[in-house]
Amino acid sequence: MNGFRSALRYLTGQLRQIGLFIALIIIVVFFQIATAGITLAPINVSNLVVQNSYILILAIGMVMVIIAGHIDLSVGSVVAFVGAMSGVMITQWHIPWPVAIVLCLVVGALVGAWQGFWIAYFGIPAFIVTLAGMLAFRGAAQIALQNQQISPFPDSFRTLGSGFLPSFGTSGYEPLTLIIGAVAIIALVLTSIRGRLTRRKYELEDEPVWWFVLKLAFTAGLILLIAVLLASYNGTPIVLIVLGVLTVVYTAVMRSSVFGRHIYAIGGNLNAAALSGVKTKRVTFLLFVNMGVISAIAGLVFTAQLNLASPSAGTGFELDAIAAVFIGGAAVTGGIGTVTGAIVGGLIIGILNNGMSILGVGTEYQSLIKGLVLLAAVAFDVYNKRRSGGR
C-alpha cells in the first residue's frame, strides 16, 4: 500500500510528461474506434508520417527558439522561399539536385543569419523581426517564382519527400523496415540500461525501477508497432529517416551539448546566463541560423513531396509548429521544453487533422477543435504549475 502511494506520488510529479503521452494514446484510440480501424491501417500510418513530417521538422527548430524565449513567425514563408529556390535551381538553372539541396540549406542558413542579426545584435524582438521575415520571404518566394508554380521535379529528388527505402520481398512484411525497427529498439534499450547503470554506480539515480521498465517497454512497443505497420505497407518512408535522425541529433544537442544548454540558460534567466559568461548574443544568432536551416529542410521535403514549388506553399506552417511546441509542454516564458515533447505535440495535431479528415469533419470544425486542444494543453500546464506551488 505504501509502495503504491509513493508510486502515485512519483507519477503526479511526472504528470506533464505522462499527460502528454496519455493524451496521444486517448486520441489515437478514439479515432481508431471512430474511424472503424482506418486510423491505424498501415497505409494511413504511412501517410500520417509522410504528411506531417515537415511540421514535425519545423517543430524541432521551433522548440529551441521558444525555449530561448523567442518565437519565429517566418518559417512558413521560409519554407515557400526555399521551395521556390529549389525549383528555380533544379528546373531553370539545371543544377544537379544534390548540389541544389546543399545550396538550399545555405540559403536557409543565410535567411536565419539575416533574422538572427537583427534579433541578437540589434536587439529587435524576434516577434517583430520574424513577422517582417514572414512578409518579406513570402514576397521573395513570389518574386523568385514570378508568381508561377514550378513542376515537375526529377523523380530522384521527389523520393526525398514521398519515397520509401528500397524494399525486399514483394508480399507480407517488408524485412528492411522490421530490421530498422529492431535495431532502433535494441539501441534504445541498451543506451537506457547503460545510462541507468552508470547513474546507479554514482548514486545519481532517482527514477524507480518499475517506472524505468514501463517507460522503456512503452517506447519500444511504440516503435515496434510503427515498424510493423509500415512494413506491412510500403516500407520505411525516407522522410521518416530524415525526421528520426533530426530528432535523435537535436535531442542530444538540447540535452547535453554546450550550445543546447546555453539555450536553456538564456531562456531560463537571461541576466544570470550573461553574468555566467554565456555569450548570449552569439547563441541567439546561431539559434536563428539553425532555425533557418531546419526551415530549409522542411521546405525541401515539402516541395519534393508535392512535386511542386508554389508561391503559396507553407502558409500557416509557423502556427502549426508553434502549436505543436506548446502542446508539447514548452513554457511561453522560455526555459522549459523538449524536442520529444514538440514531436509528440506535433503528432497530436497531425492525428487530429488526419482523423477528423477521415471522419469528414469540415475544416471549420477542425480549426475550432485544434484551437481548443491547444488552449486546454496550456491551461493544464498552468494549472499543474500552480498546484505544485508555482514559481
Partner: protein
C-alpha cells in the same frame, strides 16, 4: 508636554510584530508620531524600517501582523493601500512608481481620474495638476511626459500625487537616495513647507546631516526592534549619537574562527570610475582604488546607493554602467575584464546580491546551475557535455557545502535562500577563480546557514584565493574580513584593517558626504 503628547499624536503604532517564514522582521516595535512634525526613522539596511512602513500603509494587510495602529486618535485596520490612502496616509517608495509614458497630470490622477460621467475631463485634470505642481515647486507643463523628467522632478510628481489624495501623513522612503545635492536640498525645503501647511511626514533616511536639518524626532530601529526615540530639539544630538544607536548591537553573533594566511597582492583596481547606466552624466563610482591579497578577505562597507554593486558589476565584465574607466591588475599585470567571458578567463567570479534575478536559472536543477559558468570545462571536442562528470561534480559540491536538497536534480527555484546561495557559490567555486566578489552573500539567509556561508568564505581564503565581500551588515564585515574599505557616494572614503575597525568608525565613513565643491 510629554503627558499632553498623547493627544496630539497623529499616529501611534504599538507592539508591532511581523513574521516572515523563518524570520522575525519586526518585534514589538512602537512608534509615535506627533501631529505636524517631521519624524525620521533611522537604521541599518535590513533593520526593518521599510517593513514597518509597509505595515503602516497596508501593503501587509491588517491580520498579517500583530499589534495596534491608532491614526488620528482612532484604531485603524488597513487592508490595502487604498484603505490607508483613503485615511490620508500616503507612502512614496524608494523606487518611484510612475508610468513613464504618461504625462505628469495623468500620473498624478492615475486611479483617481478627474471625470464626469465616465469621461475624463482633461481641462480639469491639467488645471488641478498645475495647482498641485505649484505647491511642490515644480514649474513644468502638466502634459510633459514623466520619462522626460529627471529623478528629482519625478520625486516631486510623486509628492504632488500624494497631495492630490489629501495626504495627512506623508511617508518618504529614502527620498534623496537617487537625487543630486540641489534636488535633495529642494526636496528637504519642500518637506519643511508642507510641514508649515500642517502635513506630518515620516522620512526614512541614511543621511544623518539631512536628518539633523529637518527632523523633529528620530526613532532608531535595529534588528527589528525600536531602540530609542531622540528628540532633536531637546537634546544636544550629534551624528555620533545616532550612529551609536544604529550599530550598537552586541557583537556576539557567531563567526567561525579563522587565522588568515595572507600572501602577495592578487588583484588591484585603480582609478575605477563608472557612470550611471541610464544617465551617463551621473557618477556612480568615482575613481575608486582597492586591492586584495592572496588569502585575504576584504570587505566593502557602504549604505544603499553608495555604488557597491555598481563597482563590483562594472569590474566583472562591465556588466553595469557606461563610460567605465580605470585599470585592473592581477599580480601586477594589467588584465582585460571588459566582457564577462574575459573576466572569468582572467580568474574573476562575481556572485550577485540578487540570486533570483541575476544568479540562478530557477527553472533548472542544481547540477545545471552549478555547471552554468563552466560548461566548456565539461565538454568534449564536439561540444557535448559529459553529463556524468557534471553530475558527479554537482554531487561533490552538494556534499561538501551541505546543500540541503533531495538530489542534485532538484529544481533550484524550490530551495531555501541559504541553499540557493550555496548553489551560486558552488557555481563560482567550480569555475576555479582566483578572486571572488561576493555581493551580500548572506542576504535573506537564516543564522545557521550564514555560519556555513562564512565557513565557505574562510575556506576559499585558505585556498589562497582573494575574496571581496560586499555587505550591509557591519557585524558581518567586522566578523569575517581582514581589511575593510568604506564606500560613500561612489568614493572610497577609508581603508581600515580588522583590528582597528569598529562599527562606529565604519558608519562614520559610510555616511561621510562629499565636500561640496560648487555652490
Amino acid at each position: 508636554m510629554e503627558e499632553e503628547a498623547v493627544t496630539t499624536n497623529i499616529l501611534e503604532m504599538r507592539g508591532i510584530t511581523k513574521t516572515f517564514p523563518g524570520v522575525k522582521a519586526l518585534q514589538e516595535v512602537s512608534l509615535a508620531v506627533e501631529l505636524g512634525q517631521v519624524h525620521a526613522i533611522c537604521g541599518e539596511n535590513g533593520a526593518g524600517k521599510s517593513t514597518l512602513m509597509k505595515v503602516l500603509s497596508g501593503v501587509y494587510p491588517h491580520g498579517t501582523y500583530e499589534g495596534d495602529i491608532t491614526f488620528e486618535g482612532s484604531p485603524v485596520a488597513f487592508k490595502s493601500i487604498n484603505d490607508s490612502e483613503a485615511a490620508g496616509v500616503v507612502i512614496i517608495h524608494q523606487e518611484l512608481a510612475l508610468s513613464p509614458y504618461l504625462s505628469i497630470a495623468e500620473n498624478i490622477f492615475l486611479g483617481n481620474e478627474q471625470q464626469s460621467n465616465g469621461w475624463i475631463d482633461w481641462n480639469k485634470t491639467n488645471l488641478e495638476a498645475a495647482k498641485l505642481l505649484n505647491r511642490v515647486g515644480l514649474h513644468d507643463n502638466p502634459v510633459t511626459k514623466v520619462t522626460d523628467l529627471g529623478v528629482g522632478k519625478q520625486q516631486l510628481v510623486e509628492i504632488a500625487k500624494a497631495l492630490s489624495k489629501r495626504v495627512k501623513l506623508l511617508i518618504l522612503d529614502e527620498p534623496t537616495a537617487a537625487l543630486n545635492d540641489e534636488d535633495s536640498a529642494h526636496l528637504l525645503d519642500l518637506i519643511k513647507s508642507l510641514q508649515a501647511e500642517g502635513i506630518t511626514s515620516i522620512i526614512i533616511s541614511h543621511k544623518l546631516n539631512e536628518i539633523k536639518a529637518i527632523a523633529d524626532k528620530v526613532t532608531i530601529i535595529r534588528d527589528g526592534k525600536t531602540i530609542e526615540t531622540i528628540d532633536m530639539h531637546a537634546d544636544e544630538v550629534s551624528e555620533a549619537r545616532i550612529i551609536k544607536g544604529m550599530v550598537g548591537r552586541d557583537l556576539e553573533s557567531r563567526f567561525p574562527e579563522h587565522a588568515p594566511n595572507i600572501g602577495a597582492e592578487l588583484l588591484r583596481i585603480e582609478n575605477w570610475t563608472v557612470h550611471h547606466a541610464l544617465d551617463s552624466s551621473r557618477l556612480v563610482v568615482n575613481s575608486a582604488n582597492l586591492s586584495v591579497r592572496a588569502g585575504e578577505i576584504v570587505g566593502i562597507a557602504g549604505l544603499m546607493g553608495a555604488g557597491r554593486t555598481e563597482l563590483a558589476m562594472s569590474v566583472f565584465g562591465h556588466s553595469y554602467g557606461t563610460n567605465i574607466s580605470g585599470t585592473v591588475y592581477k599580480r601586477g599585470e594589467r588584465i582585460d575584464t571588459s566582457s564577462v567571458p574575459a573576466a572569468i578567463k582572467n580568474g574573476l567570479a562575481y556572485a550577485t546580491e540578487d540570486r533570483k534575478r541575476y544568479g540562478l536559472n530557477l527553472l533548472d536543477d542544481i547540477t545545471r546551475n552549478i555547471s552554468g559558468s563552466t560548461l566548456g570545462k565539461l565538454a568534449s571536442a564536439f561540444g557535448f557535455v559529459d553529463s556524468l562528470k557534471e553530475s558527479t561534480v554537482a554531487e561533490g559540491y552538494r556534499k561538501s557545502l551541505n546543500i540541503k536538497a533531495p538530489s542534485v536534480l532538484a529544481i533550484t527555484g524550490k530551495l531555501s535562500g541559504g541553499n540557493q546561495q550555496k548553489v551560486v557559490l558552488s557555481k563560482w567555486m567550480y569555475s576555479d577563480p582566483e578572486v571572488l566578489i561576493l555581493d551580500e552573500p548572506t542576504r535573506g539567509i537564516d543564522v545557521g546557514a550564514k555560519y556555513e556561508i562564512y565557513t565557505i568564505i574562510n575556506r576559499l581564503a585558505d585556498e589562497g584565493k582573494g575574496v571581496i565581500v560586499i555587505s550591509s551588515e557591519l557585524p558581518e564585515l567586522l566578523g569575517i574580513c581582514d581589511r575593510i574599505f568604506t564606500l560613500a557616494e561612489g568614493r572610497i572614503t577609508s581603508e581600515v584593517s580588522r583590528k582597528d575597525a569598529t562599527a562606529e568608525y565604519l558608519m562614520q565613513f559610510m555616511t561621510r558626504e562629499q565636500e561640496k565643491t560648487t555652490k
